[in-house]
C-alpha cells in the first residue's frame, strides 16, 4: 500500500509540521498552544511519515531514538526547576531574564519556557514510542 503521492506529501509535510509545532510551542505562552500541543504536532508529522514509508525510515529521519527524546525532555524539565533553588527561591519558582533585541523590543526568556520545552520533547517521544511500537506489531 505504498503510495508515491502519500510518500511525497509526507516528506514535504514533515518539516512543515516540525516548524509549526515549534511555533505553536513558542506562542503557547500568550496564545493557544504550548509544549503539549507542540509535542503532539511534532509527533503527528513523524507518524504520518511512518505510515507513508515505514517506522524504520521514520526512525532514521528522526536520527535520535524516541527514548532519548523522553530522557532529554524529562531532564530539561527537571533542570529548569533548579535555577530557582540557587537563587534561594522555593523549588519551581519561575526565573526570567530579559534580552534587549535591537529590532523588536525585548525578548523574555524564563525557566517556564525551558520547562515547556521539556514537556514538548517528552510528549513527542512518548507518542512516537507508543505508536511506532504498535505499528511494528
Amino acid at each position: 500500500m505504498k503510495s508515491y503521492i502519500i510518500q511525497l506529501a509526507a516528506s514535504r509535510i514533515l518539516p512543515v509540521t516540525i516548524v509549526l509545532s515549534l511555533l505553536v510551542f513558542y506562542r503557547g505562552h500568550n496564545d493557544p498552544g504550548g509544549g503539549f500541543i507542540g509535542g503532539l504536532m511534532a509527533a503527528s508529522g513523524f507518524i504520518f511519515y511512518a505510515m507513508a514509508f515505514s517506522t524504520k525510515q521514520a526512525q532514521k529521519k528522526l536520527k535520535v531514538s524516541p527514548l532519548s527524546l523522553i530522557a532529554a525532555g524529562l531532564s530539561i524539565a527537571t533542570l529548569s526547576t533548579l535555577p530557582a533553588l540557587f537563587a534561594g527561591n522555593p523549588f519551581f519558582t519561575g526565573k526570567w531574564i530579559s534580552i534587549n533585541l535591537v529590532f523588536s523590543g525585548t525578548l523574555k526568556l524564563g525557566t517556564p519556557l525551558l520547562f515547556d520545552l521539556g514537556v514538548y520533547l517528552t510528549v513527542w517521544g512518548i507518542l512516537l514510542i507508543i505508536i511506532f511500537n504498535i505499528m511494528d506489531e
Binding site: I37, T81, P112
Partner: protein, 769 residues
C-alpha cells in the same frame, strides 16, 4: 549533644567505608573499626558524670513538628546506660569478628552490616522522639535479617532470617500504631515531654489499646512468649552476630522501650499483669528448653530468652527494688552472655563443632579462655562473687516484696534459677573440665583477637561483683532514677546479711547441684518427653501459618486478578458509578435551569448522538472507529464554540492520534465475528448506561455547586503579572502547577516505556514459538 550526632554520622560513614577497608586494609582493619567503636564508648562515658548529677540532654532537628515528627536525640541515665552497651560490646565484637570471619569470602559485607546495625542500635537508644526511634528500630530489624541470613546459601539460615524479620517487623508495625495513638493522646512524641504526661496517658480511654500495640513491638523484638521462637532460629547467624545482636543489644531494644515508657505508661494493673505474666512464662519456658539442648549456641539462646523474660517480669513488677534488679540484671546478663557467645564461636572455630555431647575438657587446650567462660557461667548461675549473684539476690528480693502474686513468681523464679545453676554447672564440668574429648583434629589455642572479648567481659563480671559501688553511682543509679525518679539510694554488695533472700539463694544452689548431678538421667528422659509429648513447635506452626496465609492470598489474587481487562474495567466502572450515584442521589437538588443552545450547538449535538449510535450499531470495526472519531471531533468543535481553544486543539490532535493507533491495532486483529452473547451485551449496555448516567448527573450537579472561585480568579489575575503569560491555561501548566505537569509527563513516559516493553516482550515470545 551534637557531638553524639556527629559520632552517629561517623559510625554510618564507617559502615559504608568498611568494605573497602576490610578488603584493602589487612589484618589491622578490624582493630581499627573496634577502636572507633571503643572511642564511642569512651565518648559516651565522658557524659556519665554530667548525667549522674541528674542532668539530661536534648537535641532536636525539626522536621514536621505539626505531625510530631522530629529527629531528636535524648540522653539521660537510661539511654546512657543502654547506649554504652552498644559501642562497648561493638568494639569487642568487631575485633572478635575480624578473626572469626577471616575465612568468609563475603566478610567485607559482614562488616558493613554489623556497623550499620551498630549505628542503628545506638541511634535507637539515643532517640528522643518515638518516630526517630521507630525508624532505627526497623533498621535494626533489617540489619538483623541480613545478618541472620548471612550464610545465604543455607536454606535454614534464609528461613530463620525471614522468620525473625516477619515477627519483629510485624511487631514493629503494631508498635508504630501504638506510637501514633500515644502521639494523639499526649500531643507530642518527644520523650522528654512524654515523660511529663504520664497521668494524662494512663487515664486516657485509648491507654489499653496503645499499650497492647506498643508491647507487641517490644515483645516481638525481645523474644517474649509466644514470639520467642525466632531467637533460637537466629542462631544460624555467625557467632559475632549472636553475641552482639541476639544477646547483648538488639533483643534488649524491647526491654529498653518498656523501661523508657515505664514512667509514661507503667504503674497500672494492666501494665503489671501483662508484663509479669508474659515475663514469667518466657522466663521459665526459656530455662526449660535450654536444659535439654545439645548445641552450645542453642543453650545460650534459650537462656537468653529466659533472661529477657526475667527483665520483662522485673519491669512489670514495677517497684523500686524490681527496677533496680532489672537494670543490674541487664548489665549482668550482657556481660556474661556476650562472653559466652564469643566463647561458643571460638569453640566452633577451633574444635569444629558446638555439640555438647562430643566435646569436653577444653580447659586442657585453652585454659585462659575456659577460665573466662567458667567465670561467666558462674555469673549466669548467680553464684558469688560474681555480679550475677547481686543481680539474682535483687530479683528474689523484688519478688518477696510483691503482695499478691509474689509467691507464684518466686516459685517460678526459683525453678528457673535452679535450672540455670544446673545448666551452668553442666557446662562447666562437662564442656570445660573433665577428660579432653573432641570430634576432629586436636583443637589449637585460639588467637588473641578471639580471646580478648570473653576475657575482658568475664573480668568485668568479676570486678563489678567485688567492687560495685562506682558503677552503681555513675551508671546504674542514673538509669534507675530515669525509670523511677523517686529512688535516691542504691547500695550494692555481695553480702546482705542472713535473711530470707539468702536462704532462697541457698536452696536454689543446692537444688541446682542436685539437678546437675541428675543431668544425664533427666536429660534423656526430658528429650524423649519433648519429642513425644510436646509435639507442638512454634517455629513450625509459624511456618505453616505463613504457608496457609500465602495460599489464601494466592487464591484471593486468582479471583480478584482475573487477567481480563474487561473485568477490571467493569469492576472500576461499576464501583465508581455506584458510589457516585449514591452520593448524587443523596445530595440531589433538582435540575437547574439552562439556556437554550444555539443552532450550531444543536447541530453538533445531533452529529454527536448519531455518530455514537452508529458506532454501537455498526458491524465493521473500521466504521465504528471512524464514528468514534466523529464523536471526538464534535466535542472538539464544541470546545471551540465555548472558547476553550487550547482544549480544542489538544482534543483534535489527540483524537487524530488515537485514530491512528486504532488503525494500527485493527490491522492486526482477527476478523470481526460476533463474540459476545446477547446476555453479555445487555450487561455491557447496563454498565454503559450506569456510567454515562453518572457522568451526566455529575455535570448537572457541577452547575449547582457553589464552587469557591478564588483559585481560578487568582490564576486569571496573576498569569500576566506573576508569570508574564497571557495564556492562562499554559501558564498554569508550566508555571503555577508545573510540579503536577512534571509528574504527569513522568507518568506518561513510564507508560510509554511500559508499552514498549510489553510489545517487545510479546514479539520475542511469538518468535520463539
Amino acid at each position: 549533644m551534637s557531638g553524639l550526632l556527629n559520632y552517629l554520622i561517623l559510625l554510618l560513614a564507617a559502615a559504608f567505608f568498611s568494605p573497602y577497608l576490610i578488603r584493602k586494609g589487612g589484618k589491622a582493619s578490624p582493630w581499627l573499626l573496634g577502636l572507633l567503636s571503643a572511642g564511642g564508648f569512651g565518648y559516651l562515658l565522658s557524659y556519665a558524670g554530667f548525667i549522674a548529677k541528674g542532668n539530661t540532654l536534648n537535641y532536636t532537628i525539626e522536621w514536621l513538628p505539626e505531625l510530631y515528627l522530629n529527629f531528636t536525640l535524648y540522653l539521660d541515665g537510661l539511654s546512657l546506660f543502654f547506649g554504652l552497651l552498644v559501642p562497648g560490646m561493638g568494639a569487642l565484637v568487631l575485633v572478635f569478628a575480624g578473626k572469626y570471619m577471616q575465612p568468609y569470602p563475603l566478610k567485607h559485607r559482614f562488616f558493613f552490616l554489623i556497623l550499620l546495625f551498630e549505628f542503628a542500635m545506638l541511634a535507637l537508644i539515643l532517640s528522643g522522639n518515638l518516630f526517630t526511634m521507630f525508624i532505627f528500630w526497623e533498621l535494626t530489624s533489617v540489619s538483623s535479617f541480613l545478618l541472620v541470613g548471612f550464610n545465604h546459601e543455607k536454606p535454614e539460615a534464609r528461613n530463620a532470617a525471614l522468620q525473625a524479620l516477619l515477627i519483629t517487623v510485624s511487631g514493629g508495625l503494631a508498635m508504630m500504631a501504638g506510637f501514633i495513638m500515644l502521639g494523639q493522646m499526649a500531643g507530642t512524641l518527644e520523650i522528654n515531654q512524654l515523660l511529663k504526661s504520664g497521668d494524662l496517658i494512663r487515664n486516657h480511654p485509648n491507654y489499653l489499646p496503645a499499650l497492647l500495640l506498643i508491647l507487641a513491638g517490644a515483645f516481638t523484638k525481645s523474644a517474649q512468649f509466644p514470639f520467642h521462637f525466632w531467637l533460637p532460629g537466629a542462631m544460624q547467624a555467625p557467632s559475632p552476630v549472636s553475641a552482639f545482636l541476639h544477646s547483648a543489644t538488639m533483643v534488649k531494644a524491647g526491654i529498653y522501650l518498656i523501661a523508657r515508657l515505664s514512667p509514661v505508661m507503667g504503674g497500672t494493673p494492666e501494665w503489671r499483669y501483662i508484663l509479669t505474666i508474659t515475663g514469667a512464662i518466657t522466663m521459665i519456658l526459656g530455662a526449660y528448653f535450654a536444659y535439654s539442648q545439645t548445641d552450645f549456641k542453642k543453650v545460650l539462646a534459650y537462656t537468653t530468652i529466659s533472661a529477657l523474660g526475667t527483665l520483662v517480669l522485673m519491669l512489670g513488677i514495677d517497684t523500686d527494688i524490681s527496677v533496680k534488679a532489672a537494670i543490674i540484671f541487664l548489665l549482668v546478663h550482657a556481660l556474661y552472655k556476650g562472653a559466652l557467645f564469643m566463647v561458643a564461636g571460638l569453640i566452633d572455630k577451633s574444635v569444629g563443632s558446638r555439640d555438647l555431647r562430643k566435646i569436653s575438657g577444653l580447659f586442657k587446650v585453652m585454659p585462659i579462655t575456659s577460665l573466662a567462660a567458667i567465670v561467666s557461667l558462674l555469673s549466669m548461675a548467680g553464684l558469688p562473687p560474681m555480679i550475677g549473684f547481686i543481680g539474682k539476690e535483687l530479683i528474689y528480693e523484688a519478688k518477696f516484696a510483691l503482695p499478691d502474686i509474689g509467691n507464684v513468681l518466686l516459685m517460678v523464679g526459683v525453678i528457673t534459677n535452679v535450672i540455670m545453676v544446673a545448666i551452668s554447672l553442666a557446662l562447666i564440668f562437662n564442656l570445660f573440665l573433665g577428660p579432653l574429648k573432641y570430634p576432629g583434629e586436636k583443637p589449637k589455642p585460639p588467637a588473641l583477637a578471639l580471646r580478648i572479648g570473653p576475657l575482658l567481659l568475664a573480668g568485668i563480671s568479676l570486678i563489678f561483683g567485688l567492687f560495685p559501688a562506682d558503677v552503681a553511682r555513675l551508671l546504674l543509679k542514673p538509669a534507675i532514677v530515669a525509670i523511677h525518679p523517686s529512688i535516691d539510694t542504691l547500695k550494692l554488695g555481695l553480702w546482705h546479711g542472713f535473711n530470707e533472700v539468702l536462704l532462697v539463694s541457698f536452696i536454689t544452689v543446692v537444688a541446682g547441684v542436685v539437678l546437675f548431678l541428675l543431668y544425664r538421667k533427666i536429660n534423656r528422659w526430658l528429650t524423649r518427653f519433648n519429642n513425644e509429648v510436646i509435639t507442638f513447635r512454634f517455629a513450625k506452626a509459624f511456618n505453616q501459618g505463613l504457608d496457609l496465609f500465602l495460599s489464601l492470598t494466592k487464591k484471593k489474587t486468582a479471583i480478584v486478578q482475573s487477567g481480563y481487562q474487561r473485568f477490571y474495567l467493569m469492576a472500576i466502572f461499576v464501583m465508581t458509578s455506584v458510589l457516585a450515584w449514591y452520593q448524587l442521589a443523596y445530595t440531589w437538588q433538582g435540575f437547574n435551569s439552562f439556556n437554550v443552545p444555539g443552532i450550531f450547538e444543536i447541530l453538533l449535538l445531533m452529529v454527536l448522538v448519531a455518530a455514537t449510535f452508529f458506532a454501537v450499531a455498526v458491524k465493521s470495526r473500521l466504521a465504528a472507529i471512524l464514528a468514534l472519531g466523529a464523536v471526538g471531533y464534535s466535542i472538539g468543535l464544541l470546545f471551540i464554540i465555548y472558547g476553550a481553544i487550547d482544549l480544542a486543539i489538544t482534543m483534535m490532535l489527540a483524537e487524530t492520534l488515537v485514530l491512528v493507533i486504532f488503525m494500527a491495532v485493527v490491522y492486526h486483529l482477527p476478523k470481526f465475528t460476533n463474540f459476545s452473547s446477547k446476555a453479555s451485551r445487555l450487561r455491557d449496555a447496563a454498565i454503559a448506561l450506569l456510567v454515562g448516567g453518572f457522568m451526566t448527573g455529575l455535570v448537572l450537579k457541577a452547575g449547582q455547586l457553589n464552587l469557591n472561585t478564588k483559585i481560578s480568579d487568582f490564576y486569571t489575575e496573576n498569569a500576566l503579572s506573576l508569570a508574564y503569560g497571557k495564556n492562562v491555561v499554559n501558564v498554569i501548566l508550566v508555571d503555577f502547577r508545573a510540579l503536577d505537569t512534571l509528574g504527569e509527563i513522568t507518568v506518561l513516559a513510564i507508560a510509554a516505556i511500559g508499552v514498549m516493553a510489553l510489545l517487545k516482550l510479546k514479539t520475542k515470545k511469538g518468535s520463539a514459538t
